[in-house]
Symmetry: C3
Subunit: 113 residues, 3 copies
């Protein structure tokens, strides 16, 4: 069974290699964290604990300029970094999906990392 | 090919084991039912028939107190029960995903059951 | 790693075989295009290029009557056609998912085609 939560973070970034994205701008990123596991007492994981863990990992990026953290602050690099940070605390971590704004996203899955 | 529909149900529940969830409250649950199959005459399944089948299964829980039905009315237990009820009527049932409110969900898949 | 974008197209259609759908009506279709691949310079694919490719394929159907193009203009047939059109331009194409209106969808995946 899989369980997931999503939450948001607000960041600045610029991507030098992309025309029109090379000026500092920002996005509200929606981050979805999915855990897979067996149910124990009717739950895979308490949603509150999952959200708290996700938000702790997102703190590193929320209200920051991602261009100061990543050489290429692409959705792919950010979601990969979130996956790597989260798997330390979530052994059942299955995927992290991140929407950059509204209608575009990148997804890191267990087999990618 | 996969086809899916989603619909909503409004239920009360309380979860004794979880701090802050042990008082009776409620959620609008969004339930997504996914069927996998080959196309026949351009369709895997008529959306209307799929929705009617989903809504029939949801009737058992809609506008009810789930704490009177489940010992632990967690999203995991409810979505598992929906999957088991639906697979009697939907041989191609692939997954049932249920959002408890807006930003958290559990998903039961064929291989889980 | 997977990346995706979604966009919309507005079409008319009627489906003769389905009661209540046999009169010409229309939908805003939401089309999500997903590409899977390795990251190069921090990206699987530039979102703008992915969107431009998706929109080029959608042009064939946007603001058209799908009943003049498909014998059965079902979501399944349309999404299958979009997948076949898109895989010419997107070697890493993983899936195309299309919502017919709001709460029902069909998804064509690489292994379906």
């Amino acid at each position: 069974m899989r369980v997931g939560i999503f939450d948001h973070m607000d960041c600045a970034h610029s991507v030098k290699a992309l025309d029109g994205c090379d000026v500092t701008h920002g996005h509200t990123y929606k981050v979805e964290v999915v855990v897979e596991g067996e149910m124990v007492d009717g739950m895979v994981m308490d949603f509150k604990a999952l959200r708290a863990t996700a938000k702790k990992a997102m703190e590193k990026y929320d209200h920051k300029d991602l261009s100061a953290i990543f050489e290429v602050p692409s959705a792919e690099n950010i979601v990969q970094a979130l996956f790597r940070d989260l798997q330390k605390d979530l052994p059942g971590l299955y995927s992290v999906k991140m929407w950059e704004g509204y209608n575009k996203w990148a997804e890191a899955m267990r087999e990618d990392i």
